[in-house]
Amino acid sequence: MNYHSNADLGGQDVRGAIVMEPEGELFHAPWEPQVMALVVAMGPTGLSNIDMNRAARETIPNYRDLSYYEIWLTALEKLVLQQGVLGDTPPPPKQVLRAELVAAAISKGSAFSRTPTGPARYALGQRVRTIAVQPSHHTRLPAYARGKVGIVERVHGAHVFPDTNARGLGENPQWLYTVAFDEKELWGEQHLQQRSTISVDAFEPYLEPA
């Protein structure tokens, strides 16, 4: 299986201005709020989970040509087809987000922390190396942070593991860490110095002792 994410942009050579936007300017087309609300409303149905959604989005071939709400819409259309909504036996929704449930559902959210079943392998301050392998499925370790040595800065507890959750293989909770890298480790000694430190939130399977 040849999985490729078109969304892994960190550090890439992307030109184009960053266009400022005033605080109240939320949408730029009348269909955009509908797409946002559809995605929110589909959450409780359990038709997909957040990691399946991200996988569906990042594998859109023309990802880079689309606006973000176009990406959301395209991915939702794709999932609706993939999950057999058009078939004879569409999967029943786990829950339908009725109008009167919206406020409570939004303010509750959906926690991703899980009771850990085993010890954290790494501790605050420890040096770790991220794995270099790019798996052929959805994952959350950015390309720019692969095979790099960093320091564990925070230990967040065990969280749902995207790599399995995105493939319907279960939540498989894993310890989650914030791992911080010096800019030189990521971009090389020749890189224009910025005095910066960059961290990613990395699940334990993404890490090895260094």
Binding site: I18, L38, G109, L176, S196
Partner: protein, 210 residues
């Protein structure tokens, strides 16, 4: 599903009273399908949109920041356990289930990005601005933070360390900006008015005490 062809028209930001655009037709078709199949309560969509247009936005985060500026104990709580401290202010919710607050100081400036998609602390900042989800910001924030900040009109002293948080999992980051000089006499509400959305992402600074 014939409406599912991609909208090949250039992006239009004006939508006057006219025939429905191809994108609008496509979204309506999907909404109709999901409603017919029993996944969606169409009335819920309006409630979701209203929530993010009128209730859940950066003014919520500004309340958190202003409280932290006024109440040293709350600030300490926010920095040690942001999820609980923010929940105490009633701001729990979707895309804010696991919060971390990071504090700007004269030595360190924090900047938040999601290079892999568009992870953003909705519960305190609402919907992300377009630039936050755009390729140029996501690509460059991790590699050329000073250049990015300059585009936002923020010029930091050379000696300031820049700390970039790439939100690659379900932890969401809120920047606690430095309290503006000369703001000693302002009320908490007045202080909240100085807190801009961008200052809580790290791409801006709070307003100055007039």
């Amino acid at each position: 599903m014939s409406e599912h062809e991609h909208d090949s028209q250039p992006h239009s930001h004006e939508h006057a009273q006219r025939a429905l655009s191809p994108m609008e037709l496509r979204v309506r078709a999907l909404e109709a399908l999901l409603t017919e199949k029993g996944y969606i309560d169409p009335a819920a969509l309006d409630v979701v949109i209203d929530a993010y247009q009128t209730k859940i936005g950066p003014r919520n985060g500004a309340r958190v920041v202003a409280r932290a500026w006024c109440d040293a104990e709350f600030r300490r709580w926010l920095l040690a356990d942001a999820t609980a401290a923010i929940a105490f202010l009633g701001l729990t919710g979707r895309q804010g289930e696991h919060m971390v607050a990071v504090e700007n100081t004269p030595q360190v400036h924090n900047l938040v990005v999601c290079t892999l998609c568009s992870c953003y602390p909705w519960a305190v900042l609402g919907l992300p601005p377009t630039w936050y989800k755009s390729a140029p910001y996501r690509a460059r924030a991790v590699k050329d933070p000073r250049g990015v900040l300059r585009e936002f009109g923020v010029e930091l002293p050379e000696s300031t360390q820049i700390r970039i948080w790439d939100s690659t999992a379900e932890v969401r980051y809120l920047v606690l900006p430095q309290r503006p000089a000369g703001s000693e006499d302002l009320s908490e509400e007045q202080l909240a008015n100085l807190v801009t959305r961008d200052s809580m992402i790290g791409t801006g600074l709070p307003g100055t005490a007039a």
